[in-house]
Symmetry: C2
Subunit: 248 residues, 2 copies
């Protein structure tokens, strides 16, 4: 996969390009909602909001887990220099069409208004609040997810579609992180127990195997201490080209 | 299933109670957004907005299909009287907690602000626009779905989670329509082709079988003329009691 293809593929699912492993980084203070300039050429060099950073709606459990994984995104070397650690926080944006033109079926009107499904709400905490961390060596992703009040299905519980959405999101980001551009081919989801609205949850995904264009990822949704399993799932993704995706 | 349980169960998934089969009905003009008083005791007798009725965002294909199925919701007898036809339009609301207290895990704040996931947007046409029709005799449901610009996944296409959400919604409404209160136990979804954002689609569900508490429903998402298959799925639901649901 070329560097540019990798960069585009990560952006398309709201996963921005990351500095290469080993690059010294600057520590970002928690709750500071700035974003890094990603070093992209104009007209891509504006600073979009990174939704994976903390906001005022994040509860204490969400913040605790964010800080736990975020602190492992950089480590201190013996010489006192800070370097990338085993985990990466995956930035997340709400407008993929800002980065890649295409969508041949869309009218100009729809293009300009289009928003990424899980980031389409302005009100913090109302719907999907989440941050995804990836660990390349362990072939794992962890998502800390806070389910807002607009995700209701049965009274007081999260809609099965909202859970499916987060599973597609996390396993999809994982597949893109390891394999470049992909499309979902199958989701098989077992709902073990209804998830109370307002919960903070862990969604953990694991890369099971890669066979040609196929990427197999499994996933489970649990309480933050891992003691209660709410949902488990398997996901299959197919690698695609930018041409496939943009309808070229 | 008792009459009251049936009424509650249909409301919990946004499917209001319907007049019994054979009752003469009044024709509702298309695009008139009134709703019928459902005969509920105070404080339930306000008139919530029925999101399954047409609004200004519905395109011509959406309207054509709505009118096609809606016209079969009542038929004219030889005596000129209008009676229920083979199809039912399932009303759809955005606040299940207005009807049923519960959600033991919820704070009062979240309860008052909670909205049904697929009906949580005020702007018409922005996200999920859909209407579900049920045919009890044929054990089928048909949903006409218009995918708004806030449902984006890959650029220009509908997010896999949004498609999963609609599949859960339609098969779930179908299971509730035939079997009372249910919870989703499994969704197995095959994504055959990406769905262009802004599309109008048909989602057809079929009741496969019932075994004890288990309700098996299959489903496919196609173009409105049925010529292109975008997604197919199977869904398993488990019958539950109101007590299960409300955490009693």
């Amino acid at each position: 996969m070329s560097r540019s293809l990798g960069r585009i593929s990560k952006m398309l699912l709201g996963v921005a390009s990351l500095p290469s492993c080993g690059t010294p980084v600057t520590r970002e203070p928690v709750r500071r909602c700035c974003v890094r300039n990603m070093g992209l050429p104009w007209p891509f060099s504006f600073q979009p909001r990174d939704f994976s950073l903390p906001n005022s709606s994040w509860g204490s459990e969400m913040m605790r887990l964010y800080e736990h994984y975020n602190s492992q995104c950089e480590v201190e070397t013996e010489g006192g220099e800070r370097r990338r650690g085993p985990w990466r926080r995956l930035p997340s944006y709400n407008r993929s069409l800002k980065y890649a033109t295409g969508g041949v079926y869309l009218s100009k009107l729809i293009q300009s208004k289009a928003r990424f499904f899980t980031r389409n709400m302005r009100a913090p905490g109302a719907a999907f609040e989440y941050v995804i961390f990836a660990n390349k060596e362990e072939q794992k992703c962890v998502c800390v997810f806070q389910a807002g009040h607009l995700l209701e299905g049965q009274p007081g519980f999260v809609h099965g579609g909202a859970t499916a959405t987060m599973i597609d999101n996390v396993t999809g980001a994982h597949a893109i992180y390891t394999s470049g551009l992909v499309m979902t081919a199958n989701l098989n989801i077992n709902y073990r127990s209804p998830i109370p609205l307002g919960s903070t949850l862990l969604i953990e995904s694991c890369l099971d195997k890669k066979e040609g264009r196929k990427v197999f990822v499994s996933c489970k949704v649990t309480s933050t201490d891992g003691s209660k399993l709410y949902t488990d799932a398997t996901a299959l993704f197919l690698s695609v080209t930018v041409g496939n995706l943009l309808g070229a």
